[in-house]
Symmetry: C2
Subunit: 291 residues, 2 copies
């Protein structure tokens, strides 16, 4: 039985796991993201206690360099997070542990884990979208996580906004009212003057939130044609939100995509993660297994 290390490297916390798979988790620790030296150092110390490992995977907050031919492959690039720009994560792990290190975005890792073990088993392509402080999307397609010129930045697609209905101009410093600018946590807080989780169940903010998420999903259906869409992030704990999103996606596509999956079984198409809060770190384990 091969055992792997996995790091879900987030901007707020790191989760490190040693496992042979989701049914064979040997140990898991969580700690806050502080400086790169301290945070990566704690990860290395943890894995050193569990050697031998076959490989280590990192599912990382971005932006990251995923180009294997680039001199900065395996690094976090220009991030607003203080101290973390140009941090060579894979290089540090490899130097300290002398193990192969797999590296991808947090959302690509989560897509892979949900595909292997979660709510999107054997669904290729699978889209994993998470909504929190920011919005990120990952996709497994033709058997592999989706990379390209850089990596997808699905939070930054442009959505139609009717200023008469929603005068809030969006908070994205680059694009104003892109998807993230309109629908991530800070947008709800700034638009309504209170955090999303304090808005009453029937506050009109939830209808608007469902509308923007559904606009983005209908675009992503038209572009990627995923076989399943997994929605991560605490916002979907809000009662009724995912149901509103499903109905709105059907209304927006308006029968154009003639698939029974969308027309008749949308509750099995747009779903919550099967791995719950572990999709990220199990994604890192899955990345290590794919090496």
């Amino acid at each position: 039985m091969n055992i792997y290390g996995g790091i879900e490297a987030g901007g707020t916390k790191f989760v490190c796991m040693v496992a042979g798979g989701p049914e064979d988790v040997r140990e898991e620790i969580r700690f806050p993201t502080t400086t790169p030296d301290e945070t990566i150092g704690r990860s290395i110390d943890f894995f050193r206690q569990h050697l031998p490992l076959k490989a280590v995977g990192v599912a990382c907050f971005g932006p990251v360099d995923l180009n294997p031919l680039s001199p900065t492959y395996g690094s976090i690039t220009a991030t607003p997070k203080p101290g973390w720009s140009n941090t060579d994560i894979t290089g540090r792990l490899h130097a300290a542990l002398d193990l192969p290190v797999a590296f991808d975005t947090d959302v690509n890792g989560a897509a892979l884990a949900e595909y292997r073990w979660g709510a999107a088993r054997d669904c290729d392509p699978v889209l994993y979208l998470t909504i929190g402080t920011g919005i990120g999307g990952g996709c497994l397609i033709n058997g592999k996580p989706m990379h390209g010129l850089v990596h997808p930045e699905m939070g930054h697609i442009r959505l139609p906004r009717d200023p008469k209905v929603d005068p809030y101009p969006g908070f994205c410093p680059f694009h104003g009212d892109c998807f993230e600018g309109l629908a991530a946590g800070p947008a709800m807080r700034l638009r309504w003057g209170q955090p999303a989780e304090t808005l009453p169940v029937n506050h009109p903010g939830w209808e608007l939130e469902a509308h923007y998420i559904a606009l983005a999903l209908s675009d992503l259906v038209c572009t990627l044609s995923p076989k399943r869409i997994v929605l991560g992030g605490g916002v979907f704990d809000h009662p009724g939100l995912i149901e509103r999103v499903r109905v709105s996606v059907q209304e927006l596509l308006n029968g154009y995509v003639q698939s029974p999956t969308i027309l008749e079984h949308i509750d099995e198409y747009i779903v919550r993660p099967g791995l719950a809060g572990r999709a990220g770190v199990l994604g890192a384990i899955a990345l290590a297994m794919e090496m």
Copy 2:
């Protein structure tokens, strides 16, 4: 040397080719798309004159069924084109020729041909987008054309439209002002009361057209992260259009996607097809080769 048959099956015309590759074209014929019996019959007659062939590829107008497990795999499904709904193209070809038949969308075929031999050589992912009577997009990603629940329908993503600048509500019968509804040939004709090709070079319609195309491309860059974008369709013969699109994509992304390819070399990133009018039928040849 293996020789293949290829069909670019379009709603207006069929192009059939027998070739070993783009440098080894044995014969090519074109004829108008009439009834399925007549049009597919002419294709079969043509290939019969050139047997033996190793396989036949079809790059087809849509919507099509690409699911190999479906009973209607290889068919055109519900098309507005009279007489063509539920036409089993691969079944008819296979029955008549007793050859393996590859089948995909016209734009996926073109993406594959541009990747193998054209303007996007070895660029994975590559996005091929064509603008004509309708708008279609294909993509080669992780080594293969992109399929999914159905196939991409990139012409139907939603774009922001400012009614003060553009009161035209779009012509898409499903979505009104989606990308196709705002930017395909009929939209230009209906908005300005004359066909696009008769609009003067400096008519404001061209600036608006560039804006909508750039909005769509910036969304597709954020979603697919293509390494190159190939733009097909006669509209790009208009002087200055592709240049305006490039500038507008840079402005819309606003430095967010930190790649020198976009920031400094966008003229090598957003390009015309290398195979010109043959991308479609060579795509069909390439599909046959991939079997």
